[in-house]
Amino acid sequence: MKYIKIYSACVKTAFSQAAAYRADFIMGSFITLLSNILFPLVTILIYANGAEFPGWDMWEVLLIQSVYSMSTGISSMLLSSVVWVTMDHIRGGSFETVLLKPVSPLFFIMASNFDVQSIGLFLGGVIMAVIAAVHTGIGGLMDVVAFLLLFVAGLLVLCGMNLMMAAISFKWVGNSRIPEIFDSISTFGKYPLTIFPRAVQILSVLIIPVAVIGFFPASALLGRVDGKAFLSLIPCVLFLCLGIWLYNKMIRLYEGVGG
């Protein structure tokens, strides 16, 4: 209860921070939205030119991609700033100010850096998903339940990944390239899994389960989910646990920069 109160106070602060620079906020949201509208355009372009992802029609692929946007939207609202903020604190030697608060440092950084602009990304994803779903039609109630379950699992992967990247920045100070590695791996989640070679399929289901971010929940919604999708729930949970563990471990290793 205490933590919910703190979280809402921090999110309110994040909103006032975002509102402090009006033009910046509007531009930021606009660019986020634009870059997410442009991405599905590539898919539309592919299908408009007669090419296709075998076994998947255009609206089905768009559904996968919009679920992917919803998922990344939520995870970046919650966690995307953790990487940058941690990095800044470590480089500037100001992590003590976080440790002075009588709450979990990870929770405090998460709460006080709620990323308001990502709401646009999430909403854009929702709108696109609804449009796509109207064209494809969705399965029954059980399919929706499976969708929700897999969607949450996808969030766990994204959150775990963000935390791991933030944890790495404790030791690998100032490496702004870290997030790019994950961005390129997670791209696999944006496309139908069946188009990839077997090795990539295994990688993106069991080792770094990025398929759970967009592909699995979307195919569940279509009633096309494969039993092996649920197998990847295990690595999803492991990912989050590993992320939290690593971050907290790094805090303990943290040394002040001096001054």
Binding site: K5, S16, L100, E255, G256
Partner: protein, 324 residues
Amino acid sequence: MAIITVEDLVKSYKTYKRGSGFKETMKSFVKREEVEIKAVDHISFQIEKGSICGILGPNGAGKSTTIKMLCGALYPTSGKIDVMGFSPAKDRMKYVHQIGAVFGQKSQLIWDIPPVDSFAMNKAIYGIPDADYKKRLSEMAELFDIGEVMHKPTRVLSLGERMKCEFVMAMLHNPEIVFLDEPTIGLDVIAKAKIREVVSEMNRNGTTFILTTHDLEDVEQLAREVIVINHGKKVFDDNLQNLKSALGNKKIVNLSLAKPFKGEKVGDALVIPGSNDHEISLEVDLDKQNIRDFLDSLGGVLDFKDISIKELPMETIITRIYSE
């Protein structure tokens, strides 16, 4: 009663020796030499409840590291810290509820929004009840005279205004102990005076203060107990009176001369040669001579263009304490 007990505290870092210049940088890129640095080296002390204790020392002496360990932000390498029965780093979450801290060089306010919004966030984090919060905020706003200032975005505030708000931020939850790390660094005389005044006032109401500084004036006007640290070791730990008597009551008079002066003494004051023939400093012993009498006599002896009067510099104090 001791509110803080520190026994045999050590903090050491492992770091890598990095070369400067291209050749050495390349060399250290391939093979790095590990170096152990002892930032704090077997320090012990006690601080009484209700006191104001100054931790003095030159830059890089280990003051900040010590205060970070006292705040629970750093684990000691070895040794024991007991603050109000807590072991700061181990019981950190419970412990930091009881303390406040102001780091002169690291802001806790949120840059883009008014301080009062940052205060509201702290209210939630520390779970301060509404009535207490309102009462305390209005008291402190009045003490620091920031009634208007705290409604402007932090980024437009002057350093002095911001520091006052940092103090309020750190003390809203009514902590028993407040740690101040270089609280007056970079501030002008008026802002310094205001902050010292409020610290004294809060101390009269029972708050214990621990401050690190290399500004001797902070210590003279606030502290009763003084600990001097150099190279990670404690070199002095006693009350202010004894520090003064150990050093003697001295002032430094800096002069820019019209004509060079060669001589060892001016009156009773010792001459310290400066960077060139036209710059000298005089060390005046105030126990032997009134500063006003000294200045009166000075015009007759020396032909100077400019004059300034300062406290003994930190480095001199450290060397003096060593040679004791």
